[in-house]
Symmetry: C2
DNA sequence: CTCTAATCTTTCCATTGGAAATATTTTTGC
DNA sequence: GCAAAAATATTTCCAATGGAAAGATTAGAG
């Protein structure tokens, strides 16, 4: 039997293969269709093999979430390059946030659901922090209140983050009304420049 | 055997009993502990009995979500009575939104997750609309732009809603940092009055 | 080359939501 | 009243899921 066709007992790169398989399933079939056994079958291993690499299903989904956060940061930064001006950058980042959530709803849900994604995991917390750093950078120096600089930036960050996250979530859950053409009956860019911040 | 002790074949008010039992479980044990069989056992019926009243587990959770939305509207309105002034009312409503989410995280999650709660259900959509009406009322006439009155109110509503929803969700998911004393390192009231709206 | 650790499989199990057939009670129609 | 029909509930069965346990296979260290 030719060596390249004979199935090896050891996969070689099972960890990454499982993550990729899981990503593929949630992108094409949605989160509801994701299961440990389905992922394992897609890679061609038994459904207990993942345990060696992730411990449990939540461990695997945590790894998927970590990869999600890395792509998330990339997506937000992608909109920033080529954009000049603080407010424009801010708008671009928020748009990137929402665009990612809408393009990858299942992944986005995993990333932000503690029942799926364990934030105590180092890989996740590091990747999530890297995403948050984008928000920090664009929020720097943007606030309303000169008097309280300590909390000024935090306020801006949390406000922008909460707004973007809430809007994305409500869109993904179908709770914001849509026009007949399928677009949301609301343009994010209409509201972002109105938040009342100013350059300091 | 005395009639009041003999278990009747027909429960009499099984539908409401199941909803209440489900509510009890998610409040005391959390969403992860909720199961059809557990609810049925708590009421003292077989696990297939709920099917007659709700069709499926999702149907039962949809009914729980509907009841959640009714309590949600009550909670938001409770903060409004006794508060005067448009902006104060607005703050009170947003606070009510977040307070409810934090007090009943599992219920809140069910209410806003389409995999649990079916928004095409009439009972839900009516109750959800009643909640949204609170937001509409306080948003009336509050916007930044006189020129586009058509979209002005919608903008205010969606902005407030997105912010409140995102902030509540991020808090519940443990993604916003907390101080040592357990309170969030951020006060919602710090940001609400800064949104840049004005009375028109 | 051998022994150990890592990796993977097979088998088994408890839990879950649901389908189907059956039993019991209530309601309806006459 | 009373039989038929509808509603309600039970029992039994099933497929799917994640995980535990024990054993097989391979890779790597010494």
């Amino acid at each position: 039997m030719p060596a390249e066709k004979r199935k090896k007992y050891h996969h070689g790169d099972l960890r990454n293969a499982l993550i990729e398989a899981g990503m593929g399933i949630i992108e094409t079939e949605g989160l509801a269709e994701l299961s440990l056994r389905k992922i394992a079958a897609k890679v061609g291993v038994s459904h207990t093999a993942p345990k060696n690499h992730f411990g449990s299903m939540r461990g695997l989904m945590t790894a998927i979430g970590a990869e999600g956060f890395r792509r998330f940061a990339t997506e937000m930064r992608a909109g920033l390059t080529g954009t000049s001006g603080r407010v424009k950058k801010l708008e671009a980042a928020v748009e990137g946030y929402i665009r990612f959530a809408r393009k990858h709803p299942a992944l986005f849900q995993i990333m932000f659901s503690p029942e799926y994604c364990d934030f105590k995991d180092e890989e996740v917390s590091e990747a999530a922090r890297a995403s948050y750093r984008v928000l920090e950078e664009i929020s720097e120096g943007l606030d309303w209140d000169k008097a309280d600089l300590d909390h000024a930036q935090l306020r801006t960050e949390i406000m922008l983050w909460s707004f973007a996250h809430g809007y994305a979530t409500l869109l993904n859950n179908g709770q914001i009304n849509f026009r007949d053409d399928g677009t949301p009956a609301f343009d994010v860019l209409d509201v972002i420049p109105k938040f009342g911040y100013r350059e300091m």
